[in-house]
Each structure stands twice: as structure tokens, then as C-alpha cells.
């Protein structure tokens, strides 16, 4: 049934297995045979899991949902790269034609102090939600809005805000950063709202609050390495971190109490 270019390859998988947050964890070795190159990476893991179940073994847990690169639920570090080596994709968009017959593939969870492992490849990223709770919004209650066209927004600014707003909150930036910093994620939200007139009113406390919360959650500091942006499935620009630093400075100068 597969398309004309379909081939079968064999792979050796080394998959991280960890029963719970306190378990030490280890690699499970698995031979993936006759993998169609048309498959997605997660479909390859589905097949592996179904095979493990058939053998009476527990399948490997991994997070996934939309499987089209937008929900941000899937994660995985594949051969040392968050979402694999390809540019601008999530793990669910990675297809097996990118692998060679006989290759060994190492699959690990996103590793960061602020993202504790729940089980196997599943990590807890709720720290991101808590950062957003400290300011990643515009305080406008339902029904309080004026007509949408009352406030023009220049196309260039609007487009830049959009670019920043495309962040899917997957956490690859944290996994890729040697310091496990969340700066790209936090800056994308700060920049998105700082570039728009709607976000103007709260910009100081937003930047101040979110940056402090990021530190409090145990994320590391930014040392301008850029691995975050390179691994970002939405190619969020480092420019946002510069905007965040400016906004944070502004916020610090005006912060009361």
C-alpha cells in the first residue's frame, strides 16, 4: 500500500525506560525490523509498543497528541537533538526516511531540572503553565473589548508579534540549552505581547513577573548560546530574548513593592 519510494530499514533502538520520578532509569535495547521509510517516527514507536505488548512487556510511555506539529505535546531527544536533527519540526513530523538502514537510534526524554521525568519519556512541563500564570496574558475580561478595528496595528509589528506567538510550548528550547534555560519560551510570550498595543498596559509587570518566575522554577540562565532557537520547531528568533532583556530592565526600573 505504501507509496512508490517506500523502503524497509532495520534499526537498533536505545530507548530510555524509567518507572517513575524516583527510579534511576536505564536504556532498553530494541531491534526495530522492517521499518517502512514512509512511517513517522511516532508510528515507528507505536509499532514497537504493540510488539512489546505482544511479548507481554510494558510499552514505553511517550507524550504525543495532534501528530501534526502544532500541539506541542510530543517531545523526545533523538540522537542527542531535541525533536531530532531536522530543522523546524517536532518529533511527530519526523519521518523514517531520514534514517539509514542499520543505524542505532538513541531516544531520551527532555532533560532539565524543571522538567522532572514522570515515566519513561514523559516529563512534567507544568512549570511553563505557572510562568504564563504570572503575566503571559492581557487582563481583559470577556465582554470588555472594544471593536477589533478601533486600534490599528502596523502590519510589520503585527507580523513580528505573530512570529513570536507561534511558540507551541513544547520545551525543546529548554532541552537543547546546556543551561536548561527557558529564556526562548518566556521571551516569545513577552515579545508577542510587548509588540502589540493590547499588551502595552501590563508590559512592565509582565516581564518582571515572568522572568522571576522562570528563575524560581529552576530553569537556568541564558548565556547566548543559541541552541534553543536552532532546535525550535517554530524557529522562534533569538531577537525575542533581546526584547525580553529590554522589557525586564524596564520592568525592574518601574517595579514597586
Amino acid at each position: 500500500m505504501a507509496g512508490s519510494s517506500a523502503q524497509s530499514i532495520n534499526l537498533k533502538l536505545k530507548v530510555w525506560q524509567q518507572r517513575g520520578p524516583k527510579d534511576k532509569g536505564q536504556f532498553l535495547e530494541y531491534d526495530a525490523k522492517n521499518v517502512s521509510t514512509e512511517m513517522s517516527f511516532l508510528e515507528m514507536l507505536d509499532v514497537m509498543n504493540e510488539d512489546l505488548v505482544k511479548q507481554g512487556k510494558e510499552p514505553i510511555e511517550f507524550d504525543h497528541d495532534c501528530r501534526e506539529g502544532i500541539c506541542g505535546m510530543c517531545s523526545l531527544v533523538i540522537n542527542g537533538s531535541a525533536h531530532g536533527k531536522d530543522q523546524a519540526i517536532t518529533t511527530c513530523q519526523l519521518h523514517m526516511r531520514r534514517f539509514k538502514d542499520g543505524e542505532t537510534v538513541t531516544i531520551e526524554p527532555f532533560r532539565a531540572k524543571a522538567f522532572p521525568v514522570i515515566k519513561d519519556l514523559v516529563v512534567d512541563r507544568s512549570a511553563f503553565d505557572r510562568i504564563i500564570q504570572t503575566g503571559g496574558f492581557v487582563s481583559v475580561s470577556t465582554g470588555a473589548a472594544q471593536d477589533a478595528n478601533n486600534l490599528p496595528v502596523g502590519k510589520e509589528k503585527s507580523d513580528r508579534a505573530f512570529e513570536a506567538a507561534t511558540c507551541i510550548g513544547c520545551g525543546a528550547c529548554v532541552a537543547a540549552c546546556p543551561n536548561a534555560s527557558a529564556s526562548l519560551f518566556v521571551s516569545a510570550k513577552i515579545a508577542h505581547l510587548a509588540l502589540l498595543p493590547q499588551g502595552e498596559v501590563e508590559r512592565e509587570q509582565r516581564a518582571y513577573g515572568m522572568v522571576h518566575k522562570m528563575d524560581e522554577e529552576g530553569f537556568g540562565s541564558c548565556t547566548n548560546i543559541g541552541a534553543c532557537s536552532a532546535s525550535c520547531p517554530k524557529e522562534i528568533s533569538l531577537e525575542n530574548i533581546a526584547i525580553m532583556n529590554r522589557e525586564f530592565l524596564r520592568g525592574s526600573l518601574t517595579h514597586r513593592k
Partner: protein, 640 residues
């Protein structure tokens, strides 16, 4: 069978005044009393997130539940195209009335007029609200919002944020929610799956959930429950829905007494990437906007495998059959025509189960750069999945299950047949009739959550007495026990087939007999096959692992068990609806030209199913809500 539970509670008066009048007639909850009321909201998609945020802003105590690790991941996020509103910014003749009219007609006259009118009325408030939240909709150089025409609409009323409108709207609603979480007015319960609705004296007073991390069964009480858990497209196994989208919460409510309306109304989207193999886990939608410039064709002759064939050997069948709408005919029509071509043996690709969507002429007319500007991200997505370059060779596309118009029956207040249980968004049945128009799902989800439920739930809370109920109540214990027993039962079968295997088999039956084209014979067969499959499931499923830990096999098994029941109801509803309308096409009811033939005489009603089965023996009573078309005159949909 008529039934007094099916009182739609549509207010009297002219359609344009009904909502305004109703808002005045409804009772209010005193501001100081709101904090005494707890409301459970299940699901954090557009409908759930907007409802949770708005209810919390009003002062209610909200508890929000989702199965994902964060409220931001719900499947609304994947909507590409846009959101409709009657703003008429382009001044091209749009109005609330026209949006109402188009939606009723597009739904093939199987929606409730009053609900649809209200939807069109509040559509403009949605755009205002989203822009105020910082949603970066597309703008022109003057800084004003721009619109596009979508899904064959004659006016440009669709607001969009490139191909990621759903994402931007959901992030808006999610951030509004997070603002309230920060204030302590919303309590978040992520990685929780609702497995039962708890009734006390016949009123919805809480839910039983499984903590998907610890495996613990938890009870949560409230004064009202809001269900916003999406549709049931994954009954077909393969669909454009997210892998974890499921019908379990809605189905368990149905089995507790909530009527399920029009389950056979499913939408098959014409432009998806075709299946490539048995391992296929989901299908990916290619935005409908591609049909604005792409041309759909198959070879005139059967069995032609080469795509690079001369013009005269190609059949641009949509342009041929529907000269005035061409490639832009509505979704149901485009899907069915693709199926007809494949059934004739003129399908393309190695599998033969696909048609071409060709951009050759668009590239010639506009240049590759302009095509890329408009569709670049979609072309890239296609290339990543198929390994083929759509600038050089035509895309292969085929229809896939995308959306379900049916859902739990609700009245004008969005309340189900269970007092206190309210249902929002795709999970309810009310606004799209038998076919949903493009860019209207986002509109409905947000209309229900931001602008309808905040009013109507107040009316419910203010007009009922609420005896003190805590999770110590017998009903909560009984529900938790029942849920625990079901888990144990699933884990104890220790059979030979995985839950996915059953799900895939169910999907094949559904797609074959309850898919794009349905016949009495096929639907009868489907019911028997599904019932057999269900019996086999409970005897031979293999659910592995620990109930007290993260266990996705157990999660899947529970959902598949429910799909195996719902699938049968879908087939039964399709069998009893002796007509073709919208997404429901019955082979016995078509014109000489293979167009759908509606039967308004006997079927201008919503079928609402009441569960009356026991254990593995499914049974239902069919009730009807008559639909009256006072404003949009019943007429045959024609796109010729």
C-alpha cells in the same frame, strides 16, 4: 416518539430579538453569591477554556480538567483556516442575517434556527475579544484586520492568523484561563480523564476522574458540570483528530441519561493526505484554502499510474460537474465525488485511493513565489510527510473524517437532558446541522464558551435549589467503585489483542459502512460486526501494565470500549435516517445525477437517542425534536 425532555426552550419573538429578550428574562446570580458556586469544566479546547476563563471572571469557583499535560494542547489548536464573523469589514454584503442564512443552508436544514442566529450575532464579539487578548490576526498595511473567503462562501468573512488560527485563538483563551488560575479562581487538574458523571437526585453534581499519572480515581463535586470534550471522529480510528481525542466523557454522560443527537452526522474533509500503510496512526488535513488555487483531477482512463499526462487525458471532474462552484464546492460534495472516482477505478497513487490536487496552473499564473507566499507552510508539511514536492508534481489527496456535527443534545441554554450538565462546542449537536461550513467550528466553540454559557449557567444556578453535596455522598462512592471495577475488569481479561487492534478493526467497519456513502444493507451489517467486535473485545483484549501508574494502554482500552458502543449507535442512526443530507449520504436516497436527496417530510428533525441498554447489550429509544424553518425556507442545496 415525542418526549418532553426535548423542550428546546427557544424563546418566543422575532429571531433577531430572541437572545436579547432571553438575556433579560433569565435569572441572575447575585455577585456576592457567585463565589459560593463551584462549576466543573471538562476539556480545555476553545469552548472549555473560554468558558472556564469567563465563568471565573464572573466570580464562580471553577475546576478545569484536561487529559493533556497542559490546557494549551487541546485539539482546537490544530485548526488551520480561520474563524468566521459577520463584521462585514470588507463591505461586501455580509451581515448577521447572511451568516445565519449560510449556516442553516450549509447545514442542509438540520440545525435549530434560533441557536444559529445567536451564533451569528455573537460572532462579532468573539473577534473583538480575541483581538483584545492579543491574538495576532492577519492585518493589512493600514493596520486593519483582513478577511478571506473560505469554503465557498460568497463573502469574505473569515479572520485568520496564517495557517494557525486555531493555535492563536486557543492560546488567547488559554492565557485568559491562566490569568484566572494565577488569581486562584480556577483550579487546574491536568492529566486527568473524566470517566463518569455523578448524579445526585437526577442532577449533575460532579465527576469521577482518573489521575493519568498516579492512576488514582478521584471524585470532584460541583453545582454544575460543563462538558467541552470535543467530537467523536476517532470512532473511525483514522481521522484528522488528535490521537488522544476521544468520546469517553460524553459517552459516559450519555449512558447516565444525556440524549445523544444525530450521531450519524459526521464530516469527511476532502483534502487530506492519503493513507500510506497499515501502521498509519492518523491523517493530516491539508487546509481547504488549497482548493482556491489547486485543481482537482483524475485520469479519464482507468488504471493510469503516471501523473504527467496530457491535458486532454485529465478529468477535472469538479469543474465539469459543478461549473459555477468548481473546485470550491462544499466539503461533503467534494468528498463524495472523490470517492465516486476511486470507486470507478480512476483513483491515483500506488494505492489507487487518492485524487490529484494540482498547482501547475497556479504556478504558471501567479509564479512559484506567490504560490509559496500563500501556501508555503502547507506545501512544506506535505513534502515532509510524503517526500514529494507539490511544486513539481500534483498533491495526492483523499477525504478523511474531520469533524462530528452530532453530539449530546442540548437546549437553547446548552443544557443537556440531565439537569446541571451543560455541553459546549463540538461535543454538542446544535449549530451545524448535517454539515459544518469551513471556519465555523472555532466560531461555535468560542461563542458557546465566551458568550452563551456565562449567561445561561447563571440562570440554571439561580433557578434551582442546591442541597449541600460533598464527595462523601454515596453517589460519588458508587461511581468511583464502578470506575475502579471497570479498570480491573479490563486489566483482568489478559487476552490476545491490543486495544489498538480492536480500534483499527472498528475503524475499518465504520469507514466501509458508515463513511462517505451508506446503504441500509451495509448499515445493518455494520451493527452486527460492531456488536461482535465488542463481544470479542471484552473476552480477548490484552491490557498490560499497572493501574497505579501512567498507563496509556489502559487509557486506550477504556476509550476503545466506548467507541465500540458509540459506533453501533452511529450506524443505527444512519440506518433510521432515510434520507441524504449534508455529511449523511444514503445510496437509496439520491437523484439520477448522484446528488443527495433530502426528505423534509419525514426527517426535518433532530434524532435524539436515549440509552436503554444494559451491560454489553446496547439499546436505545429514538426521540425527535422537530425543526421549524421559519426564516430560511427549506430548499434544495445546489452548487451546479
Amino acid at each position: 416518539m415525542s418526549n418532553q425532555k426535548l423542550d428546546s426552550k427557544v424563546p418566543s419573538g422575532d429571531i433577531a430579538d430572541k437572545w436579547e429578550k432571553h438575556k433579560f428574562d433569565m435569572k441572575l446570580v447575585n455577585p456576592a453569591n457567585k463565589r459560593k458556586f463551584e462549576i466543573i469544566v471538562v476539556g480545555t479546547g476553545l469552548a472549555g477554556a473560554s468558558a472556564a476563563a469567563s465563568l471565573a471572571e464572573l466570580g464562580y469557583k471553577v475546576k478545569s480538567f484536561c487529559i493533556q499535560d497542559s490546557a494549551r494542547r487541546a485539539h482546537s489548536i490544530a485548526a488551520q483556516g480561520g474563524i468566521n464573523a459577520a463584521k462585514n469589514y470588507p463591505s461586501d454584503g455580509d451581515s448577521v442575517y447572511r451568516l445565519f442564512y449560510d449556516t442553516v443552508k450549509g447545514g442542509d436544514f438540520r440545525a435549530r434556527e434560533a441557536n444559529v442566529y445567536r451564533l451569528a450575532q455573537v460572532s462579532n464579539n468573539i473577534i473583538d475579544q480575541c483581538v483584545a487578548q492579543g491574538v495576532p490576526f492577519a492585518r493589512d498595511y493600514g493596520g486593519m484586520l483582513t478577511n478571506r473567503s473560505f469554503g465557498g462562501a460568497q463573502v469574505s468573512r473569515t479572520f485568520y492568523a496564517r495557517g494557525q488560527t486555531g493555535q492563536q485563538l486557543l492560546i488567547g483563551a488559554y492565557s485568559a484561563m491562566m490569568k484566572e488560575v494565577g488569581k486562584g479562581t480556577i483550579q487546574l487538574f491536568d492529566r486527568r480523564e473524566m470517566l463518569d458523571l455523578v448524579l445526585v437526585d437526577g442532577v449533575a453534581r460532579g465527576i469521577t476522574v482518573r489521575n493519568l499519572v498516579s492512576g488514582e480515581i478521584e471524585s470532584h463535586s460541583a453545582h454544575a458540570v460543563v462538558l467541552a470534550t470535543g467530537g467523536y471522529g476517532n470512532t473511525y480510528f483514522l481521522s484528522t483528530n488528535a490521537k488522544n481525542s476521544n468520546a469517553t466523557a460524553a459517552w459516559r454522560c450519555h449512558k447516565k441519561g444525556a440524549y445523544f443527537a444525530n450521531p450519524c452526522f459526521t464530516q469527511i474533509h476532502p483534502t487530506c493526505i492519503p493513507v500510506s500503510g497499515d501502521y498509519q496512526s492518523k491523517l493530516t488535513l491539508m487546509s481547504e484554502s488549497l482548493r482556491n488555487d489547486g485543481r482537482v483531477w483524475v485520469p479519464k482512463d482507468k488504471g493510469v499510474k503516471e501523473w504527467n499526462i496530457p491535458e486532454e487525458q485529465r478529468d477535472y471532474y469538479l469543474e465539469r460537474i459543478y461549473p459555477s462552484f468548481g473546485n470550491l464546492v462544499p466539503r461533503d460534495v467534494a468528498s463524495r465525488q472523490a470517492k465516486f472516482r476511486v470507486d470507478e477505478g480512476r483513483g491515483v497513487g500506488t494505492s489507487g485511493v487518492a485524487v490529484y490536487l494540482d498547482f501547475k496552473d497556479a504556478v504558471q499564473r501567479m509564479g512559484q513565489e506567490a504560490v509559496s507566499e500563500k501556501y508555503g507552510n502547507l506545501f512544506q508539511m506535505y513534502e515532509k510527510i510524503t517526500g514529494e514536492d507539490p511544486y513539481k508534481q500534483p498533491m495526492r489527496i483523499y477525504p478523511a473524517v474531520h469533524y462530528t456535527m452530532g453530539g449530546l443534545w442540548v437546549d437553547y441554554n446548552l443544557q443537556s437532558t440531565i439537569p446541571g450538565l451543560h455541553v459546549l462546542g463540538e461535543a454538542n449537536f446544535s449549530d451545524h446541522g448535517a454539515n459544518r461550513l469551513g471556519a465555523s467550528a472555532l466560531m461555535q466553540g468560542l461563542a458557546d464558551g465566551y458568550f452563551v454559557i456565562p449567561y445561561t449557567i447563571g440562570h440554571f444556578l439561580a433557578s434551582h435549589k442546591h442541597p449541600e453535596v460533598t464527595t462523601d455522598h454515596e453517589a460519588f462512592k458508587a461511581s468511583a467503585n464502578e470506575v475502579r471495577q471497570k479498570s480491573e475488569q479490563l486489566l483482568g481479561i489478559k487476552g490476545k489483542k491490543s486495544p489498538d487492534e480492536f480500534h483499527r478493526n472498528l475503524g475499518k467497519v465504520m469507514w466501509e459502512y458508515v463513511g462517505m456513502s451508506r446503504s441500509a444493507e451495509g448499515l445493518k451489517k455494520a451493527q452486527i460486526e460492531i456488536s461482535n467486535l465488542r463481544e470479542e473485545f471484552w473476552a480477548n483484549v490484552n491490557v498490560i501494565g499497572d493501574p497505579k501508574n501512567k498507563n496509556s494502554e489502559l487509557e486506550k482500552a477504556g476509550r476503545v470500549a466506548d467507541f465500540l458502543e458509540l459506533g453501533e449507535l452511529m450506524a443505527r442512526d444512519a440506518l433510521e435516517r432515510e434520507e441524504s443530507c449534508g455529511g449523511h449520504f444514503r445510496e437509496e436516497h439520491q437523484t439520477a445525477e448522484n446528488e443527495a436527496k433530502r426528505n423534509d417530510e419525514d426527517f426535518a428533525h433532530a434524532a435524539a437517542w436515549e440509552y436503554s441498554g444494559q451491560d454489553l447489550k446496547m439499546n436505545w429509544n429514538r426521540h425527535r425534536e422537530e425543526l421549524n424553518f421559519e426564516y430560511v425556507k427549506l430548499a434544495t442545496r445546489s452548487y451546479k
